[in-house]
């Protein structure tokens, strides 16, 4: 555990040296207001002190407990008070339409070039060609398996459909994830598949499913007690199981997998747009992303900054599941229209009912 901390310290030290001592701090005395989940990276000691040292500005946090509440806070007086927020990108388009956001100027972000290019291809980040969301961290829903049951790591989603695994599969109880996974398995566009084919594939899979898991607790309990041996699961939670020494493996199969991004946005009428840009630039910097991911207690997802991902220690890389080849095979989940939401919900419900 010593090496990664020393490495992170080295990078931090180098960055400090690079900053000219005693230089005028550009935002001395100003305050930045961040709207985020409690304990999600931006309120760590590393984040707060690092930002203050760079800009002279202090950071204030307003916490929310979900995308719906985030938007509610902005609607009820948050605009004009809050500078930056971290919504799921699937909310961005709606938030732009509600007039909650202002575009991000990528030229003001020195670290923008370090973001892995495939994350910047996600449609949901843009509206009318302007960038609104800056990718920060990511995760995937990959194939998670018991290494005792599978000494040879599986490489394809086919294993879920394998008759040998009847009653051994834990499948995520999420319409969009189910449809995307089945589409990838069928070699179709995960964002616009043939839903009849998806339905048949899921009905076939239903024969093997032991449980449709709804929370990480459900999945952990099922795989640890041996009630199931394989399933689709979130990278970060699978990484935690591996780090805790459970006989668990995680892989992004050859067909690819669904993934998600967390993205920073700037709120319309932010008290200081320049300071907001400076904050985002710090959040996506190699120094912060590496430092956060290396802290075993911080629960960081994989960094979107490719340079930081490349510098990770092996332990941290396994914990946050930040493998470059994983990122390339991801299909980032995109916002669904209300009609799609209804169709996907009904489709999975019918499959689960077995009727």
């Amino acid at each position: 555990m010593k090496a990664p901390i020393a490495l992170a310290g080295l990078v931090a030290g180098a960055a400090l040296l690079a900053a000219p001592a005693g230089a005028d701090l550009p935002f001395e005395g100003q305050t930045l207001t961040v709207l985020n989940w409690n304990g999600y990276g931006s309120d760590t000691e590393l984040a707060l002190r690092g930002f203050e040292e760079r800009t002279g500005a202090t950071v204030r946090h307003v916490y929310h407990s979900g995308g719906e509440e985030l938007r509610q806070i902005l609607r009820s007086g948050g605009i004009g008070q809050i500078d930056v927020a971290l919504p799921n990108p699937t909310y961005i388009l709606q938030m732009v339409e509600e007039g909650m956001l202002q575009p991000v100027d990528p030229d003001l972000l020195d670290n923008m070039s370090k973001i892995a290019p495939n994350f910047l291809e996600v449609d949901d980040l843009y509206s009318d060609g302007a960038l609104y969301g800056v990718p920060w961290v990511w995760g995937s829903t990959g194939l998670t398996y018991n290494t005792e049951a599978f000494p040879e790591p599986p490489t394809s989603w086919l294993v879920l459909w394998d008759e040998a695994n009847r009653g051994r599969v834990a499948f995520m109880d999420s319409p969009i994830e189910a449809v995307m996974l089945a589409a990838l398995h069928l070699g179709q566009d995960p964002h616009d598949p043939d839903l009849d084919a998806v339905r048949s594939a899921l009905e076939e899979l239903h024969e093997n499913v032991q449980t449709y898991w709804g929370s990480s607790d459900d999945f952990n309990r099922a795989i640890i007690t041996g009630a199931v041996t394989v399933g689709n699961y979130w990278s970060g939670n699978a990484g935690s199981l591996i780090a805790e020494g459970h006989p668990v493996g995680y892989v992004i199969p050859d067909e690819g997998a669904a993934g998600w991004l967390s993205t920073w946005v700037i709120v319309r009428d932010a008290p200081s747009s320049d300071l907001a840009h400076a904050w985002i630039d710090w959040m996506i910097s190699t120094e912060f992303q590496l430092g956060w991911a290396e802290d075993p207690e911080a629960g960081a997802p994989a960094p979107a900054n490719a340079e930081a991902a490349a510098l990770l220690s092996d332990a941290a890389r396994g914990r946050v599941q930040a493998y470059g080849e994983h990122a390339e095979r991801l299909s980032i989940m995109q916002s669904l229209t209300p009609e799609q939401q209804q169709v996907y919900t009904d489709l999975l419900a019918e499959v689960k009912s077995g009727l």
Binding site: D173, P175, H206, V209, Q210, T211, Y212, G214, D218, R221, T225, G226, A227, P338, Q341, Q342, T345, D346, A349, E350, K352, S353, G354, L355
Partner: protein
């Protein structure tokens, strides 16, 4: 009727003086029932006529049409939920009756309070906690399966977890105390002298049960039926966690329509269907009970002064 709520002093003065205390005492409960039951049910009925998503759509009745269009799914899930609810209720009755009888007739009052407390205490915690406790208990390699394996009755890896039997077990456990309470209260009302009289006139144990105990506990049984069957038939959390791939219930579908598809109208239509079917079944049970034991459902002293529901 409920004139007291809306009527001004003019109306009030027209009332007989004897009605004053009754109306005053009923007013808070009446107001509460209107606000918490009548209004929500009316809103539910109204929502069910709109088309989803959300509740700002036009009145089309489309969601009812969607439901009727898929009888296999909606009807199938409804039957599954009702069967599970009835199964749990039947098991509750079978277990609770002897328990309540023993508590009332064969246990000293002090011990009885302790036992009743023990029965209730686990249920003061969150339902979710109880469900997860059951999960641990019946998990493969868990305490119950290990014990069964030690007795040579089962393999310790075999388990009913992730089957509907696990859901049935959970629902029975969940609602058992309510049934015990309802039956206990009814059994307490049976005068021992009545049973003594029957015995002295030569009635056998079965005859005393059939002609005295059963009819006299029938009102309690019907109360227990309402308290247990109604929530058990509408449950979905138990099935979702313990039922595994077989855990889809009618209630699951209602919850998903709201949390995933934002389709309150569909959820409302389904909720009304469930409510109507449950009420219908409870009505049928009541009718059967009154047929089988004429007069048993009439409570002593209740000569027509009850309900303004007619």
């Amino acid at each position: 009727m409920i004139r007291s709520r809306t009527g001004g002093p003019g109306v009030a003065r027209a009332l007989r003086p004897a009605e004053w205390p009754r109306l005053a005492l009923m007013a808070p409960a009446t107001a509460l029932l209107i606000a918490m039951v009548a209004v929500p049910v009316a809103m539910l009925a109204w929502f069910s006529l709109l088309s989803g998503p959300g509740v700002s759509g036009a009145v089309t009745g489309r969601e009812w049409a969607v439901m009727l269009d898929r009888p296999q799914l909606y009807g199938g899930l409804l039957l599954r939920s009702l069967a599970l609810g009835l199964g749990a209720t039947a098991l509750c009755i079978l277990i609770a009756w002897p328990t309540a009888w023993a508590l009332s007739r064969h246990v000293a009052p002090r011990t009885r309070s302790a036992i009743l407390a023990l029965l209730i205490i686990p249920h003061l915690t969150s339902a979710l906690l109880l469900i997860y406790a059951m999960y641990v208990l019946i998990a493969p390699g868990g305490p119950m399966m290990t014990a069964l394996a030690a007795l040579g009755l089962a393999e310790s890896r075999d388990t009913i977890l992730f089957t509907r039997w696990a859901v049935l077990l959970m629902l029975t456990y969940m609602y058992l105390p309510f049934m015990v309470m309802a039956l206990f209260a009814a059994i307490e009302r049976i005068e021992p002298t009545v049973l003594d009289a029957a015995r002295s006139l030569g009635a056998s144990g079965w005859a005393r049960f059939r002609h005295i105990v059963l009819p006299m506990t029938l009102p309690g049984l019907m109360t227990g039926l309402v308290i247990v069957f109604t929530p058990a038939a509408g449950s979905f959390l138990e099935a979702r966690i313990l039922g595994g791939a077989n855990g889809m219930m009618f209630g699951t579908l209602i919850a998903e329509q709201i949390s995933r598809a934002n389709n309150q109208p569909r959820a409302a239509a389904m909720a009304i269907t469930l409510l109507a079917v449950i009420l219908l079944l409870l009505g049928v049970f009541r009718l059967l009970a009154m047929r089988a034991f004429p007069g048993a459902m009439r409570r002593p002293g209740a000569h027509g002064s009850g309900g303004w529901g007619g």
